[in-house]
């Protein structure tokens, strides 16, 4: 890492990237399944399911963090069970930060993938069907390749959004250096310390740069998606 960042700062940066990457890729299969379900089926109560998936978008992140804490806390419930049987612990660990980020950014992914799937021409799907392709065949060979740029744009957007997650992480997995102190938490910590404004400013500039880079990337990808289809 270049000298402009202190070891603690670069640690926060790398942790942020890792947490977001794991969050986005772990959530992707679920987001894809949800998007496919919403794009392809019609059923009573679909609006409600759609609303539920989008809830993390509008719920206070602190509330989500608290909810996760009650579910995955190691003293009771699912958290205790996971710890006892699999040795998996989310609280106070970077994997917990990834879980919180995944839930917060889930709607971004579902929305982008769903739009991409719906945008993939139905007529081409129909054509493939008359040519003898079964549904999974059409999904793998027609829909997915056509929706891929849109899906990629969604993943990048979710990744960028995940980099900024604060409330859910600090509530669920606390603020542990090297473990759960991502970039936003590092900025917060710097501001808490007397004379930490310079560090907070540097980290904020870094956050802005990251956001710009990934949003530009997402824009380029989705523009290309519109051109090729």
């Amino acid at each position: 890492m270049p000298e402009i960042l202190t070891p603690a700062e670069s640690e926060a940066l790398l942790l942020s990237l890792r947490v977001s990457a794991v969050a986005v890729f772990a959530a992707l299969p679920f987001a894809f399944a949800a998007a496919l379900f919403l794009a392809r089926t019609q059923f009573f109560g679909k609006t409600l399911v759609d609303g539920l998936i989008h809830v993390p978008l509008v719920l206070p992140p602190v509330a989500i963090g608290f909810l996760l804490l009650t579910i995955f806390g190691t003293r009771a419930g699912l958290g205790a069970w996971l710890l006892a049987h699999f040795g998996i612990r989310f609280v106070f660990s970077w994997t917990g930060a990834a879980l919180a980020s995944a839930i917060i950014t889930f709607p971004f992914q579902v929305r982008a993938i769903r739009l991409a799937l719906e945008g993939a021409d139905k007529g081409l799907n129909e054509a493939a069907e008359t040519l003898g392709a079964a549904w999974w065949d059409r999904l793998v060979n027609i829909t997915l390749p056509l929706a891929f740029p849109g899906i990629l744009a969604g993943v990048i957007t979710a990744f960028a959004a995940s980099l900024g997650e604060f409330g859910a992480i600090i509530t669920f997995v606390a603020n542990i250096p090297g473990q759960t102190r991502t970039l936003p938490l590092a900025i917060y910590t710097a501001l808490q310390a007397p004379g930490g404004e310079a560090e907070a400013a540097r980290l904020s500039v870094l956050a802005i740069l990251l956001a710009l880079i990934f949003m530009t990337l997402a824009e380029i990808v989705s523009r290309r998606a519109r051109q090729t289809t």
Partner: protein, 362 residues
């Protein structure tokens, strides 16, 4: 080869209630104005649209029967669908598009068949291209090849030329003719362009407002003066054979009932040609005009007259077993006092020689 179709579906503003069967091989045109229900019918045959009621049997195999709740998926039907907008897969090369159905066919055509169809459609130089690098006409040909290579039992063509300009259309029509003559595959051809139907079809099913208004051989239906007015310009299609060479720069086209003289054609004697004679191109006379520039003066008998229009009348004529229709003014009709059974001379100035067709299909 046979297809039995009987469908009823209520779209709200429009109700489809069509019944027809095709017992002969060859090309059957599903003809009618936009919104007559043509595309819904072939979608129902292909399995991409499920009507509320009906029954569809392809070659003895029921694929839809609402009474028995039978509904085969499109992939189980073995229909080759050629879409109006080609619907090529944009992320695959032309070659992969062509082989998409072939790879998934239950009974794959022999590998040699691929090259034969590629050659038939003139696609040799396009195989490695992506669909976006193709012209409209080339896309149509690839769509046609892709459907053919899936080894279908029947080919469904949904206005495959409608998206093309006149020039491209003329570029594709010969391929469709070759296909009709060589592929020996029953084809259901949806069209609202009478000239295409006249060139390609053997049978014609005329649809109007969701109902079958008329069905029959293209020769009978297009020479019928009772043909609904929406069918566009009236004109009989007749089948002819090029006669022996003449010295006067004309070619003789023999038909059942006489010979038509047209400008010299560079085709061998015995070639079967389909020609279309528009109703407006025929003049009628009661006596034989001897000094006239028109090359064709045929003695015919009047079969019937339709005069429900204020301005013109349509006269159906018979010569041998060949029927023609002429459109004349009301004034002429009254002056000549034409009526069924009367003889009349048909004076034909020009003949549209439309196409070559093989004689075997009947």
């Amino acid at each position: 080869m046979s297809i039995e179709v009987s469908l009823a579906h209520n779209f709200g503003a429009f109700a489809l209630d069509a019944r027809f069967s095709i017992l002969q091989p060859g090309v059957t045109a599903l003809f009618g104005p936009s919104g007559a229900g043509k595309t819904s019918i072939i979608n129902a045959i292909a399995g991409t649209f499920r009507p509320q009621q009906g029954r569809i049997v392809i070659d003895g195999r029921p694929v839809f029967d609402s009474v028995q709740s039978l509904w085969l998926s499109p992939r189980a039907r073995r229909t080759g669908y050629v879409f109006q907008d080609a619907r090529l897969f944009p992320h695959m090369t032309v070659r992969d598009n062509l082989l998409f159905g072939w790879r998934r066919a239950r009974t794959r055509a022999a590998a040699g068949e691929i090259e034969r169809i590629v050659a038939l459609l003139g696609l040799e130089h396009l195989e490695q291209r992506m669909p976006r690098a193709l012209s409209g006409g080339e896309k149509s040909r690839v769509g046609l090849g892709r459907a053919l290579l899936s080894s279908p039992d029947i080919l469904l063509l949904d206005e495959p030329l409608a998206a093309l300009d006149a020039q491209r259309r003329q570029e594709i029509l010969p391929y469709l003719e070759k296909l009709r003559d060589e592929a020996r595959l029953p084809m259901l051809y949806v069209s609202h362009a009478l000239d295409e139907v006249a060139r390609l079809a053997h049978q014609i099913v005329i649809l109007k407002d969701g109902h079958v208004a008329r069905q029959g051989s293209v020769f009978d239906v297009l020479s019928d003066i009772e043909l609904p007015a929406f069918a566009g310009s009236l004109g009989a299609v007749i089948e002819t054979k090029i006669g022996r060479r003449r010295a006067d720069g004309l070619s003789g086209l023999d038909f059942d009932g006489g010979t038509l003289l047209v400008q010299e054609l560079n085709r061998p004697q015995g070639t079967v040609l389909r020609v279309r004679i528009r109703a407006e191109e025929i003049m009628l006379a009661l006596e034989e005009p001897r000094t006239i520039s028109a090359n064709n003066v045929l003695l015919m008998s009047v079969l019937g007259v339709r005069h429900d229009s204020a301005t013109h009348a349509d006269v159906q004529l018979l010569c041998g077993r060949t029927r023609l229709v002429a459109r004349i003014t009301r004034a002429s009709l009254e002056r000549l006092a034409l009526a069924a059974g009367k003889p009349a001379f048909a004076i034909i100035k020009s003949v549209t020689v439309d196409t070559q067709m093989t004689p075997q299909i009947d």
